[in-house]
C-alpha cells in the first residue's frame, strides 16, 4: 500500500512572521496519488463518520478519474462549506477514523482531498446554483455561523425564503472571529457565504436578536425559526488578578486579531497589545489559535499552560504539532492560581501550581489534583484565558417558554426541535462549544425537521 501523501506546509521559520495559510494544499499529482489509495468500500465507514454524510467514496472516485468538477458537485450535495470543512474538521476522529485503511496504517486523507476539490472549484470561480421553486414560506435563521449557514443553505434549497440575522458586522461566526487566517483564510469564508447568498438567502448583519427583536416577535413574523447562536460567552477562571491590564479572554484576543484585523494595526484601527511573554491558559484548539496568533504578533515566548497532560490535550493533534514546530512551549500539569500585578495595574506574571492526575472524572478524563506547596511564578505580560465558552444568554431574552439546560444550552430532541412549536436549534447553542462540522450536522438535521414541518403545515411535534 502506498503511503499517505504528505501535506505541503509553509516553513515554520517563515510562517511565524506572517498570517498566511500554513497548510498549502495538494497539487493535482498529489491529489491523484492520494485518491488512488481509496478502496471504494461497498459499505464505507467513512460516510458514517461524517456528520453531514458526504458521499466520500463517490467524490474520491471522481478525483481518481480526474473529474474534479464532478468531485466538488458530489460533495456539495450534502456539504455547502467544503473549503472550510476540508481545512478545519477533526477528520482523525470523524471520517478518517472509520476509513478501513486506518486499521492497518494510515487512512485516506479525506479532508485534504475535500479541500483540493473545493479549492479547484474556487480557482475556476464558483458557479451560481440553480434557485429552487419558491414555497412561499419564510424562515428566520439566527446566527451566521456554521450551523446557521448550513441550515440556511438547506432551507433555501427547499425553496423557502430564508433570512439570516447576525449580530456582528460580518458573517461566519467562529469561522470569521475565532479561527485565524493562517488556518482558514477569511477570503474563503467570504466565498462560501457568497455561495449561500446565491441560493437566495438574505443575510442581515448588525442585527442583535434579543435586543432589536425578540425571539417571540420573530416567531410571529416567520413560519419557522432556527437558532444557531453558538456558545460565545467566555469563561473566566475566577482567580485574583483576572481583570488586570493584559488579561484577555481568547474570544477578545481572537476577535481583535481575526475579525478586526488588529494584526494589521495601524492600517486597521483596532489595536492589540503585543506581549513579549505570553501565557495562554487552556489546551483546546482555541488555545492553540490564540498562542500561535500571539507568536505572529511578535512575542518572544509563548506558553500553553494546561492542567492535564499531553494525552488529554483537547486540541487537534495536527494543531498541537504545528504549534510545537513554531516554538510554542507546552507547560503541562500546571494550573494558574493567581495573576500577579505589576505597574499601572498591568500583568507581570502568573502564579501556578503543579498538578497530578487522579481518578477519572465525569468526563472520563483523569481529574487533575493540585500538589500542595508546589506553587511557582511564570513571568508574563499578556495572559489569554482559553478555558471554554458557554451559550450567551442575551439572545434568549424575550423568548417565553424556551427550555434551557443548567449551563444555558438550548434543549432539543433528536430532530433539533426545541420546546417551542416552530423553533429548532443546533450547534454550540445546544451542545456547548464543540466542532464546526458537528454544528453543520445539527444545522442539516434541523433544516430537515423544519422542511418536514413546513410541508405538512402542522406542528413539528
Amino acid at each position: 500500500m502506498a503511503s499517505r501523501q504528505a501535506m505541503p506546509h509553509q516553513d515554520p521559520k517563515e510562517r511565524i512572521r506572517n498570517f498566511d495559510e500554513v497548510a498549502l494544499g495538494y497539487s493535482k499529482e498529489q491529489a491523484l496519488a492520494e485518491a488512488a489509495r481509496c478502496l471504494e468500500c461497498k459499505n464505507p465507514g467513512c460516510v458514517q463518520g461524517c456528520p453531514v454524510n458526504v458521499d466520500i467514496p463517490g467524490f474520491i472516485a471522481q478525483v481518481k478519474a480526474g473529474n474534479f468538477d464532478e468531485g466538488i458537485a458530489t460533495i456539495k450535495l450534502t456539504n455547502s462549506l467544503a473549503a472550510v470543512c476540508g481545512r478545519v474538521c477533526p477528520q482523525e476522529v470523524q471520517c478518517e477514523d472509520l476509513c478501513v485503511l486506518a486499521k492497518k496504517g494510515e487512512p485516506v486523507a479525506i479532508g485534504r482531498l475535500e479541500r483540493f476539490c473545493a479549492d479547484h472549484e474556487r480557482k475556476k470561480g464558483v458557479v451560481a446554483p440553480v434557485q429552487a421553486q419558491p414555497t412561499g414560506k419564510h424562515v428566520a435563521v439566527i446566527g451566521a455561523g456554521p450551523a446557521g449557514l448550513t441550515a440556511a443553505a438547506d432551507l433555501a434549497k427547499a425553496g423557502h425564503d430564508v433570512t439570516v440575522f447576525e449580530s456582528l458586522h460580518d458573517t461566519g461566526g467562529v469561522l470569521t472571529y475565532g479561527i485565524p487566517e493562517f488556518r482558514l483564510p477569511k477570503s474563503i469564508v467570504k466565498e462560501e457565504v457568497d455561495y449561500i447568498k446565491q441560493l437566495g438567502v438574505d443575510v442581515k448583519v448588525d442585527y442583535v436578536i434579543g435586543k432589536i427583536k425578540t425571539l417571540d416577535e420573530l416567531r410571529e413574523e416567520y413560519d419557522a425559526v432556527f437558532l444557531g447562536t453558538g456558545a460565545g460567552l467566555p469563561r473566566f477562571m475566577g482567580i485574583e488578578g483576572e481583570n488586570l491590564n493584559g488579561v484577555y479572554s481568547a474570544n477578545e484576543f481572537l476577535t481583535r486579531v481575526n475579525l478586526m484585523k488588529a494584526y494589521r494595526f495601524p492600517d486597521y484601527d483596532t489595536p492589540i497589545k503585543r506581549g513579549k511573554r505570553v501565557i495562554v491558559v487552556g489546551g483546546g484548539n482555541v488555545a492553540m489559535d490564540a498562542a500561535r496568533s500571539a507568536l505572529r504578533l511578535g512575542a518572544d515566548e509563548v506558553s500553553i499552560v494546561y492542567r492535564r497532560s499531553e494525552e488529554e490535550l483537547p486540541a487537534r493533534k495536527e494543531e498541537v504539532e504545528n504549534a510545537r514546530e513554531e516554538g510554542i512551549i507546552f507547560r503541562l500539569l500546571i494550573n494558574p492560581v493567581r495573576i500577579l500585578e505589576g505597574e499601572n495595574m498591568a500583568v507581570k506574571g502568573v502564579e501556578c501550581i503543579r498538578m497530578e492526575l487522579g481518578e477519572p472524572d465525569g468526563s472520563g478524563r483523569r481529574r487533575p489534583v493540585p500538589l500542595e506547596g508546589s506553587e511557582y511564578v511564570l513571568d508574563a505580560d499578556i495572559v489569554i484565558i482559553a478555558i471554554g465558552t458557554s451559550p450567551n444568554p442575551m439572545i434568549l431574552s424575550g423568548s417565553e417558554g424556551l427550555e434551557v439546560g443548567s449551563s444555558g444550552t438550548i434543549i432539543v430532541d433528536g430532530s433539533g426541535k426545541t420546546s417551542l412549536d416552530n423553533v429548532c436549534a443546533g450547534g454550540d447553542a445546544v451542545t456547548g462549544a464543540a466542532t464546526v462540522i458537528s454544528a453543520m450536522g445539527a444545522g442539516k438535521i434541523a433544516a430537515r425537521t423544519i422542511n418536514k414541518y413546513l410541508e405538512s403545515d402542522s406542528s413539528m411535534g
Binding site: N243, N251, N392
Partner: protein
C-alpha cells in the same frame, strides 16, 4: 449594510450631533442603551450612548466628542454620507420608574446620554432636577433641550463662564443639603466625575447610578473586553450594564483599563493625521 447620516452638525467645539437612519434600531431603543458603529472596512467598532431616537422617522441621534482617530474621522462626515455598521440597541435599558424626585447629572459630552433619561424619568412621573456642567460655557450642549425636558435645570462651569463656578457635584451637594427629598441620582460623564460624584453622595445614602464607558469590541457579551468590577463581582458592562450602582463600582480599575491602549491610540491618530495632510 449601510446607514445614512440624515443630519450632522457641530454643537460645541469638537462636539458633534449625528442623526442616523436606522429604523429597526430606532424602534427598539430605550433610554440608557447604546449603539456600536463602524465607519468603514478598516475602522474599529466604537460604542456611543443613544442621545435620542425617533421611532416614527426611523433615526437614532448620537453625540460624540473628537477624541481620537475614529471620532475625528466621524466628525468629518457629512449629511447623506453612510456608516457601514450601526448595531443596536445594546445594553440593558435604564431602570426608569416613578420614584419621586430624581437628580440627573451630565458632565461634558455626558449630557447627551442623560437627555433621553430626563425625558423618560419625567414621563414616568418623577420630578426631574437636571444638573449639567462643562469646562466652559461654549462646551455646554443641549442646554435648551434639557431645560425644556426638566422640572429644574442647574448649570455649572469649571471657569464660571456660566452658572455655578465649579463642578456639578457642588450643585448636587447643595440640593442634597437643602430640604429636597431625593430618591435617586444618575450621573453620566467622564469616569473621574462619576467617581467623585459617587464619593460625594455616599454619606447621604442616596441611590446613585452611573453609566460606565469601558472599552468595548462586540458589545454583545462575547468577549469580556468591557468587564468591570461591581461589588467585588466581575460584570460585562455591555450586557449587565452599562448602568451600575455607583457606590459598588471599582473606578480605579475602570480608569486603568481605559488607559490600556493609550500609546496605540496616539499612534493611530498620528498615522491618520499624516495621511490626511497627504490628501490635501
Amino acid at each position: 449594510m449601510s446607514y445614512k447620516i440624515l443630519e450632522k452638525k457641530q454643537i460645541a467645539p469638537q462636539v458633534h450631533l449625528m442623526k442616523v437612519l436606522a429604523p429597526d434600531v430606532a424602534k427598539a431603543s430605550k433610554a440608557g442603551q447604546f449603539i456600536i458603529l463602524r465607519i468603514d472596512e478598516t475602522s474599529e467598532r466604537i460604542p456611543l450612548t443613544i442621545a435620542d431616537f425617533d421611532a416614527e422617522q426611523g433615526y437614532v441621534t448620537i453625540i460624540f466628542q473628537e477624541m481620537g482617530k475614529t471620532t475625528k474621522q466621524l466628525a468629518k462626515m457629512k449629511d447623506e454620507d453612510e456608516l457601514q455598521d450601526f448595531a443596536g440597541p445594546l445594553g440593558t435599558p435604564a431602570d426608569v420608574r416613578d420614584l419621586g424626585t430624581v437628580i440627573l447629572v451630565g458632565g461634558g459630552v455626558g449630557i447627551a446620554p442623560v437627555y433621553p433619561q430626563v425625558k423618560a424619568y419625567r414621563e414616568a412621573g418623577n420630578k426631574v432636577i437636571s444638573v449639567i456642567g462643562a469646562r466652559n460655557k461654549d462646551l455646554l450642549i443641549l442646554e435648551d433641550e434639557m431645560r425644556d425636558a426638566s422640572d429644574e435645570l442647574h448649570v455649572a462651569t469649571d471657569d464660571g463662564s456660566k452658572g455655578h463656578h465649579g463642578f456639578v457635584t457642588d450643585v448636587v451637594k447643595q440640593i442634597l443639603d437643602s430640604s429636597e427629598d431625593v430618591a435617586r441620582i444618575v450621573v453620566i460623564g467622564p469616569p473621574i466625575l462619576m467617581k467623585v460624584a459617587a464619593g460625594m453622595t455616599q454619606p447621604y445614602g442616596v441611590e446613585t447610578i452611573v453609566s460606565l464607558n469601558p472599552i468595548m469590541i462586540d458589545g454583545t457579551g462575547m468577549c469580556g473586553g468591557c468587564r468591570v468590577s461591581v461589588g467585588g463581582e466581575t460584570k460585562f458592562a455591555c450586557v449587565d450594564g452599562p448602568e451600575f450602582d455607583a457606590h459598588k463600582v471599582d473606578f480605579n480599575l475602570l480608569m486603568s483599563r481605559l488607559a490600556l491602549y493609550r500609546s496605540e491610540e496616539s499612534e493611530c491618530l498620528q498615522n491618520h493625521e499624516c495621511t490626511c495632510k497627504g490628501d490635501n
